[in-house]
Subunit: 321 residues, 2 copies
């Protein structure tokens, strides 16, 4: 079934206000959850909402907290998220990074003690809509073994790179694991093999079997040793610049909360749009080649016209909350 | 055979001065080539030197040119490399990015019309040695098909992330292809299969056969669709911020020259070294787990003690130049 955006957003708003969120904070978070579903990222929209509500009820997300600047080093600000809702803090940090970039060419905000930002692409689109290039990352709880080990010691730390474009922004939003656990579960439920190896089975062989990988918990970093290294440096970047928790420190608490994130922005108001079009045209040598963000925009436009596809049980559960 | 660093550097210097390089520019370039071999990156040290000399003789690299700033947008400068030697310009651009970061927290230099920087890690180590975090990238001639196509339309655009560390910097230096053509050739010459799939054979199947991949020219981006997207956004970043040539525009010239690069720096003088150590200790859960830069440092120290291993023919060819 499909639900109009406004209706989905209204239900999120109702539940969040019921939890005690202020009107404006509830509106902000409800909008982001609804937009994530609108853009086709259902895993971080409707389907994630119950887990977010639980994290509020458990006190991991503090609805009365506000993020605040701790110190400033030139155009790089360091904030404490004070465990406020992650989407709320991330939007504010990105808004500040945009201000700094517009004023000074480059600017950034590093945030510690924050919570899951849901879809990293949200903040990439935010920057691109303001005419800025963005580079963002977050760490996570350990969920992926480094190259050379079977023990999960790295996060799948997402990396977001966004570039403003008149015909629709370029927004890359990628985790460091080849497949998320959510994606493995989808393939498993559909009884399908992964299109490319996604991890190891229990005997240590590369595998396309989602069940075998979920059992071994040995998911694969993108590019094997390369994604393993990139995940590590992203963890160092976000935690060192924010003086925040690393993947290891988050993992030691047993809960994915108190994360570290970074939001870098570069002013792109002078960007040559013709050059960007040339790159996209040159790269799209076949009809199956997509630029990052292309599918998101197409899904958004379709869901705006036809409503957002929802899992019927998830929708009923939301109505009953 | 092994050659002391000073001897290797002296031979590079002699050849470059013979080509007409000024003393100081020759010294700078000779040092970088020697350091690349010292650090174990032989493919961009001694083994690359003859190709660099040819690019000077062909006029692709202009030895009398100097790079220069074209405009400034706050803390982001845009330079024209004027086709000067790529290593020379990259070192200067990074030095300027470091200055900007130390003064203002974050700074950057985007360079157009530059040449191959040889080993990107060189500039990462430079930043880390100055107490700065660095993020750098370069585009290249098209050498890798985007996800969804068999036609090479992307560069393997290297990404460098460096973080200062008292016990030895963390320096990630990775191309967007799983294996370079140089690496494929090494495996082929040794008659070995790749440890993981590195591209497609001519029938379109994923392959670990280096000969089959070199024949099809269908190398694989790291993480399949993910590295394909990251390569594209890096090309947009470097060419848009420098108003320079994209991968497509470079490819249209038929020669890998006139590249676009970016050098971003963040001041890390306040970085908590204990936090960095904790991340490395947590991640290295087994003896086979390495952090990015660990192997480079070990190789450098060994080659400082024992001399730099050189291919005998390459060494004789250098002496005869």
């Amino acid at each position: 079934m499909r639900i109009p955006f406004d209706q989905l957003e209204k239900e999120f708003l109702r539940v969040l206000e019921g939890l005690g969120f202020s009107r404006s904070k509830a509106a902000h978070c409800a909008r982001i959850f609804a937009q994530n579903s609108l853009d086709g990222v259902y895993s971080h929209g409707l389907n994630r909402f119950p887990a977010f509500v639980r994290s509020v009820e458990e006190g991991l997300v503090r609805i009365d907290s506000e993020p605040g600047a701790v110190r400033r080093m030139g155009n790089l600000e360091c904030w404490d998220g004070n465990l406020a809702p992650g989407m709320y803090t991330a939007s504010q940090a990105m808004a500040r990074a945009i201000e700094l970039a517009v004023a000074e060419g480059i600017g950034g905000v590093a945030v510690r003690n924050t919570n899951h930002w849901m879809r990293g692409g949200t903040y990439g689109w935010q920057a691109a809509d303001s005419g800025c290039i963005a580079i963002c990352s977050s760490n996570t709880i350990a969920n992926m073994p480094p190259w050379g080990s079977a023990d999960p010691r790295l996060g799948n730390n997402p990396l977001v790179v966004a570039i403003p474009r008149e015909k629709g922004a370029i927004v890359l939003d990628m985790a460091m694991s080849q497949f998320s656990y959510g994606k493995l579960q989808e393939y498993e439920m559909e009884g399908r093999a992964l299109p490319v190896p996604g991890g190891y089975d229990s005997s240590g062989a590369l595998s396309t079997d989602p069940s075998a990988i979920r059992a071994s918990r040995r998911t694969l970093p993108i590019g094997y040793w390369k994604g393993s290294g990139l995940s590590l440096v992203l963890d160092v970047l976000v935690s060192v610049l924010s003086d925040g928790r690393s993947v290891g420190a988050i993992t030691a608490t047993g809960k994915e909360s108190g994360l570290s994130q970074i939001f870098l922005c570069l002013d792109a108001s002078r960007a040559d749009q013709g050059l960007i079009e040339n790159i996209i045209t040159f790269t799209k040598s076949g009809e199956n080649v997509m630029y990052p963000g292309e599918k998101t925009l197409a899904t958004r436009q379709r869901n705006e016209r036809e409503g957002i596809p929802v899992n019927e049980n998830a929708w009923k559960a939301l109505l009953a909350m």
